[in-house]
Symmetry: C2
């Protein structure tokens, strides 16, 4: 069972992440990344993809060359859940 984070949980958990920000008009969080080049950007995306598949929790993401923009939200609860925090923590752990 997936639970939507309460406002307090959301604030506490998101504050512990690195550089994730609320998305205007949506209950979602977003972070932008810039890498050395496309190879590094897509390598990063591949690591996230494998983790996402393992968690059965997938990002919305945009990439162009060395830039990646990731949005996390949980469809099932129409907002943020612990799964978003977990995936964001993993993403933070493989970036600086």
């Amino acid at each position: 069972m997936i639970h939507k984070l309460t406002s307090e949980q959301r604030a506490t958990q998101v504050a512990k992440l690195h550089g994730w920000q609320a998305v205007a008009g949506r209950d979602a969080i977003q972070r932008q990344f810039r890498f050395a080049d496309f190879n590094e950007a897509f390598g990063f995306m591949t690591r996230v993809a494998i983790k996402a598949q393992e968690m059965d929790h997938h990002p919305e993401w945009f990439n162009v060359y060395d830039k990646v923009e990731i949005t996390l939200s949980t469809h099932e609860v129409d907002g943020l859940s612990e799964r978003d925090i977990e995936l964001a923590r993993f993403i933070d752990s493989i970036t600086s």
Copy 2:
């Protein structure tokens, strides 16, 4: 040297592709894809990424779960070039 396609070249070449459409307000083409699941979508993206790197010509793309939206344009000519057509042809060749 990369050349911007003329209006005639653009029309002729894009018409031979499968389902690529002009992007409103930009000299670019876009196609949307839907796959069986995330595994298939990201597998497709990985094939395109390898080709893009080989060509040194990279897509702008968005993915969420089984959906992929690809936009092609050539930064250097501020519009469409033969490289976009070549990458679109490759993408068409690995999808139906």
